[in-house]
């Protein structure tokens, strides 16, 4: 459903993303990992239209979307969350999501938008009460709101940006399960960017690893976790930590 080829983004003399190609199939969860500054968020920003690629092509459902404005890309069915939640504090929780439901689905019907908001809030487990304020939400609640906003736009493809930063272990597992439910129940294809490798490995179908803006590995979670190049760049060269993390990843992937 998504076919990215030769994607490049330069900021002045710095190449943040260098000739990255990949594809995502319908109904799949693709994990996207890599150290800080490896180009994950830049790729997301190009897929969602926040940044225009320097060169390369992004085909979504067979149509070129590289360089389109964000609202056009959303209306074609690509929703996104932000790494740091960006709620609209002057609106209620419900209004936040209804806004996304209205504008994200091409401004057709307010009633449909409000129905989409109710469904999305219920899906992520937030109250559907219309007057609840955003200020009452904690870190986990804000992440859920971010997800509900993205879901309300009725995406075919969801770009989930490091959804789990700042959560404790139980919350992390819950959030990971939620992403899987979204795929299983709503049939939404997901690209998931994440720092925390263990949780990600348990849920994704395939993983792609970036380093310094280049793709260095791609494949099944168990295979990628054992790839020496990945271990070197992503986990560092400290042997003990590396092996522990790889074992943890394999255990989670297996379980």
């Amino acid at each position: 459903m998504l076919e990215v080829s030769g994607l490049v983004k330069r900021f002045g003399g710095f190449t943040a993303v260098n000739n990255v190609s990949f594809r995502v199939d319908q109904g799949e969860i693709l994990g996207l990992i890599g150290p800080n500054g490896s180009g994950k968020s830049t790729i997301f920003n190009m897929l969602s239209g926040t940044l225009a690629p320097s060169s390369g092509s992004i085909l979504f459902d067979g149509h070129e979307i590289a360089g389109l404005a964000p609202h056009r890309i959303i209306n074609r069915g690509i929703g996104r969350t932000f790494q740091i939640p960006r709620p609209f504090r002057r609106l209620t929780i419900f209004e936040n999501v209804a806004l996304a439901g209205f504008y994200g689905q091409g401004r057709h019907s307010r009633i449909k938008a409000e129905e989409a908001a109710e469904r999305s809030l219920a899906m992520v487990g937030l109250p559907t009460d219309r007057h609840a304020s955003v200020d009452g939400l904690g870190a986990a609640g804000l992440k859920k709101l971010e997800l509900a906003k993205a879901l309300a736009t009725a995406p075919k493809l969801l770009l989930a940006d490091e959804s789990l930063g700042g959560l404790d272990e139980a919350e992390m597992d819950q959030a990971a399960d939620m992403l899987r439910n979204i795929r299983d129940e709503l049939g939404i294809t997901i690209i998931w960017v994440e720092h925390i490798m263990g949780v990600l490995m348990r849920v994704v179908d395939r993983v792609m690893v970036l380093d310094h803006g280049e793709k260095i590995s791609e494949g099944l979670p168990s295979a990628v976790a054992g790839d020496p190049r990945v271990i070197e760049v992503y986990l560092g060269t400290d042997a003990e930590t590396t092996q522990a993390a790889a074992a943890e990843a394999r255990r989670r992937a297996g379980g």
Binding site: S48, G49, T50, A69, P70, H71, I74, N75, R80, F82, R86, P87, F88, R89, R90, L91, I93, E95, N96, A98, L99, A100, F102, Y103, G104, Q105, G106, R107, R110, A113, G125, L126, P127, D129, H131, A132, S133, V134, D135, G136, L137, G138, G141, K149, A150, T153
Partner: protein, 339 residues
């Protein structure tokens, strides 16, 4: 949502306002009321975009275009204000789009947007002053008195007629304010005022939404200028355009309350009573004092009472609606298995 009680209060208030000129005929007081209503409409028009953080100091320009284009078309081409006013509104709207589009497209926001719009009202003032062969320059301009149909020329001698026209225009402004307030566009504009990228990620066409509200606001402000011109039958660049008029709009809207529909109206009552008091009390010795008072009060209000007088009073009066905090609700849901 507008409850039955509020609707009734609006109805009674409006009936009283409509009845007023038939019961009370003091021309000076009616004159003050007409001015208050026209300026209230102008301030409401400004607040349409001002409430979303789009602080424009260019609205003096839109108002000046509304007044001068209408008067010039009447005097030079003999076009009735019924045609001249829409033309002047289109002119102001076109200018708003020409200035607004590059600002919004290239994300000129906050202080920089204020500066661009400041230049706009300065330029309009300069153009009016510089083309003195047509506009009379800084000496002012008077639409020719009609010898024919007064309705066609939109020139009336009695205050009651003008009072009712001004009331109608003012009411129109309030209705538009409520219409925007209850629309989805309000959500989008609130979102844009907080975080443009996040609004775009929710599917909002940021540039288009900002342009729409700017256009609406400019059209209404031009209408205010034209009505003011028809009522006063004398305009000068300084009374309908320029930075002073723009600042006066900002001041009145903020003092009255930006986020409530009657806030700008309340601001107009205060500014016009203040100006009249100074004028009558101190005469020519106090020329320009009102602007000084505006400036000082504006600073005080922005710091201490950002919701304005009416906004703050309504906040106090509003029965505290029990708003369940979201996390409390989460706790409730967790504690109740099977929901």
């Amino acid at each position: 949502m507008m409850g039955q009680g509020r609707l009734a209060a609006w109805g009674i208030g409006l009936a009283a306002l409509v009845a007023l000129p038939f019961l009370y005929r003091d021309p000076y007081h009616l004159h003050i009321l007409v001015l208050i209503l026209i300026w209230s409409f102008a301030y409401t028009s400004w607040s349409m975009m001002g409430r979303f953080g789009l602080v424009s100091l260019g609205h003096g320009g839109f108002m000046g275009i509304g007044a001068y284009v209408t008067a010039l078309l009447w005097n030079h081409l003999g076009w009735s204000p019924w045609i001249g006013i829409p033309v002047s509104m289109v002119a102001a709207g076109a200018l708003a789009l020409i200035v607004g589009y590059p600002c919004f497209r290239f994300r000129i926001t906050g202080h920089y947007f204020v500066l661009v719009t400041l230049a706009l009202s300065g330029i309009v003032l300069q153009v009016i002053t510089a083309t003195r062969d047509y506009t009379g320059g800084s000496l002012g301009y008077t639409p020719n008195r009609t010898s024919g149909n007064k309705l066609l020329a939109l020139q009336f001698d009695d205050k009651t007629t003008w009072y009712l026209i001004a009331l109608g225009v003012w009411l129109f402004g309030i209705v538009v304010w409520h219409w925007v307030d209850r629309s989805m566009a309000r959500y989008a504009l609130e979102a844009i005022s907080e975080d443009e990228d996040a609004a775009a990620a929710a599917g909002v066409d940021v540039t288009a939404e900002k342009l729409k509200i700017t256009l609406l606001s400019a059209l209404m402000t031009a209408l205010a200028g034209a009505i003011y011109c028809q009522y006063q039958m004398f305009i000068t660049p300084d009374t309908v355009s320029g930075i002073a008029v723009s600042l006066q709009m900002v001041f009145a809207a903020i003092v009255g309350g930006l986020f409530v529909s009657l806030g700008p109206t309340f601001g107009a009552v205060i500014t016009i009573l203040l100006a009249e008091t100074l004028r009558i009390g101190f005469g020519t010795k106090a020329v320009g004092w009102d602007n000084l008072v505006y400036g000082v009060l504006l600073v005080l209000f922005i710091i201490f009472l950002p919701k304005g007088i009416l906004g703050s009073v309504l906040d106090r009066l509003k029965p505290q609606r029990k708003v369940p905090r979201a996390h409390e609700q989460e706790a409730v849901q967790v504690a109740r298995p099977g929901t």
